[in-house]
Amino acid sequence: MKKVQTDASEVRLHGISGSSGICIGKAYLVDREGVDVIKKYAINSHKAANEINRFKNAVSKAKNELVDIIKGLPSDLRQNAYILETHLLLLNDKMLHGKTVEIIKNESVNAEWALKEATTQAKSLFSSIEDPYLKGRSADIEHVSNRIMRNLVGFKDVNISGINKRVILVADNLSPAETSQIQLEKIMGFITDHGGKASHTSIIARTLEIPAVLGLGSASHIINNDDIIIVDGMEGLVIIHPEEETLVEYDERIKKYAAHKAEIKRTSDLQAKSTDGKVFKVMGNIELPEEIVTVKDHGGDGIGLFRTEFLYMNRIDFPDEQELFEQYKEVVELMAPKPVTIRTLDINGDKEIYGAPKTKEANPVLGLRAIRFCLKNPDVFKTQLRAILRAAAFGNVRLLLPMISGCEEIQETYRLLDEIANALEKQGLPYRRDIHIGIMVEVPSAAIIADAMAGLVDFFSIGTNDLVQYTLAADRGNRHVDYLYNALHPAVIRLIHHVVVAGNKNHIKTFMCGEMAADIMNLPILIGLGVDELSMSPQSIPAIKNMIRKFSVSECREFAAEVLKKITTEAVMRLIRDTYGNKLINDLKAEKE
């Protein structure tokens, strides 16, 4: 946790964003004190029976509490009831219940201590388990044990359901039982010391569309009941005792956010149809399966670019086929029948990947990356391709090959795909080989021989970030030459034009993923050049869809013809400003207000 003290009163805490949104309200602390410190004391052996009874009473009380919680569960959380039903069984489990009684008897100690011992032992059984889901179940034992413990030490149960005003819930961590007790309409937001994006609290918060900031470390110790706090779920920021100025600023932001959300909801699900009737697919770029929700929320027509490097990073081995398959299948199933474009592994200089070239290359962006790395390491590549073909049996998959610079690379990949399809057929595993296969057009050589490549593939996807950098030989990360880096350079525009024309001649479509597609100012040129589909970060989708609806393709075509005559970047930009400046900029303003 990073803590920035701006002045005596206002305190800003940075955590993990669990759910977006903003709220201002009063803190309500879910107090858990008294459970953690367990005293050990000896019990006279003839009093052990009393102690065991005390323990059994605490268990039966815990059981009644759980039964009440399950009964009172709001219908929208009913599907979570099984967790609580499992907790009910755990209450009587031999490992917990039986063991505690045994310890009280054999060691003549108090019930609290015996329960703590039994819990520790039961949890230790899980420490050697490797399966992450099953390993996580030790938290269930902890929750059940805490519930019994609260009854043993006579600590009043946290009664979240009794909250009678709208509050921001502040807790160390919230168990599923606690979250399900909450009268949801009374909660404006969540703040917890522990937990992350995938925690139960995050999932609930996202379902309810209320902000949550988690992993704050010690927020529950700093915040007092009834403190005024701001929860900024977008930034993962919590502000305690905000100053007048901050309050005004956030009040403004809440209004904007609400208006923005309403606007998105109204129009983003509608298709993006130009005034003369051409429908453009506007898709989302994602890296994690979780981002699908954002793509759907922003009206994405599918996944135009699913980057697959994430599962390969920060680990010491390569992911196995099953792990990849399960992740791809999840994404494909969630998105079906809309397409998911899976780009094969595109490692490059800035991503540390196991097995990637250890020796530092002088020019990593011109080195052994993406398809080049994959064809050099066919076992790694085949594992991924197998997972993709298998996932394709569960929805609409397109395969996208990055960094293609020559036809041989495509032919070699097809050879591998056929080999894999044969093997899968023999193994009797469900798969699809007849998926659409396309290439990233990001190396100038590929763009130049697009006519040759078009005969080999089902679609093109122009990756503008690299295409611009390679065409102009300018690293945009290098501030001495970044002035050269501009997607509107006539060479880039002509290359795009060349690719689209080659695609049209061979009846294949040209898509674009990359930052150029997300910039409203470029839209008339891209429509005019004949790009068929755009893919971008999910947040940009609504604005682009909205803008497409204001243009006609025929008008843009004439405009693009004019653009192609220009000989400098400056002249291209001036032409855009002069022709569409007002239309584009006014809309941009309206979008933000």
């Binding site: 099984y82 967790i83 069984l89 489990d93 490797e130 399966d131 179940r137």
Partner: protein
């Protein structure tokens, strides 16, 4: 203890996607608790009490794991069969 008979033992494979997680474990434990004798789950020689959710979870029965289910009395054959059915139906998970 009764002498173990051969038909008091059954071999099964975990077929459901998530493996022996909390919900299946709870279903097994519920049945096993009704047995007159002990019901055991055995994985690679590791033997756990099928009436304990915690014990079952600690087996780490991921998808594809081979397990032996064992009971000690022929009265409990029905329960044994019911548990085998649960496994075979993948705990009725989608």
């Amino acid at each position: 203890m009764n002498k173990l008979e051969n038909n008091l033992t059954r071999e099964i494979t975990v077929v459901n996607e998530l493996g022996l997680h909390a919900r299946p474990a709870a279903k097994i434990a519920e049945l096993a608790a009704k047995a007159a004798s002990n019901v055991w789950l055995i994985k690679n020689g590791e033997k756990v009490d099928a009436s304990s959710v915690i014990d079952i979870l600690s087996l780490c029965g991921t998808k594809g794991t081979r397990l032996t289910i064992q009971t000690e009395r022929s009265d409990d054959k029905i329960i044994l069969k019911q548990i085998v059915d649960l496994f075979e139906q993948g705990f009725k998970e989608p």
